[in-house]
Symmetry: C2
DNA sequence: CTAATCCTTTAACATATGATAAATAATTAC
DNA sequence: GTAATTATTTATCATATGTTAAAGGATTAG
């Protein structure tokens, strides 16, 4: 949990009481590669923090497995399209490396917002940054070639090739695996 | 201002005191078509609500004018990539139809968050929904053809063709104007 | 009202990526 | 350790979108 609160303090430092309140609604999950942390069809009521390991959010589009996003050590992962709307999620979370994850009960977390405005502020800021990242990602998708996007991803996340199968990287980039192979072959 | 508080109440109803506090940091701007509501290069410190009219956020990419988003009546528009980071914005807001706009001073708004947690909550929820919309937009960009994206836009916003030049719609969709013309010609 | 400017379409050609299929390579299960 | 499965590459062909250029329409300024 120490790492989690270190991560939080980059956004909004918390009082000891607030930290304790959060600790009570967290649990630690150890989970192996290729397991599903969360499956399709349920309303998402958990926010995860990755202590150790790698995960992805994915869904099926016309029967094809599409990776929406990756999450690595020391980061938050959540299916916001369900968490923030209350709709059942069409997406699942899959573990890509043996992982240790903190699961934060979002239902209880949202209740804590009433007692601890500092906690509401913390998560407001976390998701504001995530929102900005998503806005910037659109620019990358629309105005860079697949090759540029691949190179950008590798330089942002140099170890991704050791952690994630290429097929997931291809769908994340919005191209087929065959195209990605072609791009990689050029060099 | 009535319309603004009606809009707010869909997200989080406010107390009379909170409404009054917000009213004090708002101003009404009447602005003509083709004017710039905000220009490039400054840190964004305003959130806008469109009472009447149409606007777009745009930027230049390799010298080409790109529309990031449109905003229509009864909606919020803000350059979040600057507002939430404090970085100067590479983007500008242009008015596309004669408009009446409520300008909310964000610096003062963020101060109100300390006194009125209900106001912080309101804007948290507004931007959570905007975040979800953006996540969903990525899916549209990556996994639909330009023609499908055009048709989806027209059915979501049937009046857009009367309000917005096609060249802006093309760059919003991530295609050239020539491509958009071709798509429109098919029918 | 006219000229100038800006917006939209059309055409011809170039290119990145998709689709399908088959061959290797790597990983996993027993 | 071997067989079975899964992941990746390579090849060929098809197609959507990009690029450039030019012409026709629409708007705007004076």
């Amino acid at each position: 949990m120490t790492l989690l609160f270190q991560y939080f303090s980059k956004y909004n430092p918390l009082s000891k009481e607030a930290e304790n309140a959060i600790t009570e609604i967290c649990s630690i999950v150890k989970i192996k590669k290729n397991q599903e942390l969360q499956t399709f069809g349920h309303t998402c009521k958990t926010i995860y923090y990755i202590n150790k390991g790698t995960a992805r959010i994915y869904y099926y589009k016309d029967g094809i497995d599409i990776t929406e996003s990756f999450a690595f050590e020391n980061n938050i992962i959540a299916r916001v399209e369900s968490l923030f709307t209350g709709n059942p999620s069409r997406k699942a979370i899959q573990i890509l490396e043996d992982s240790e994850i903190v699961a934060i009960n979002a239902t209880q977390l949202f209740k804590l917002y009433d007692t601890y405005p500092e906690i509401e502020r913390l998560f407001r800021k976390i998701f504001e940054v995530a929102y900005v990242d998503t806005v910037n990602r659109i620019e990358g998708i629309q105005f860079h070639s697949a090759e540029e996007r691949y190179n950008a991803l590798i330089s942002e996340e140099p170890n991704i090739l050791k952690k994630v199968p290429l097929k997931h990287i291809a769908s994340y980039l919005g191209i087929t695996q065959v195209s990605l192979s072609r791009i990689r072959a050029i060099k």
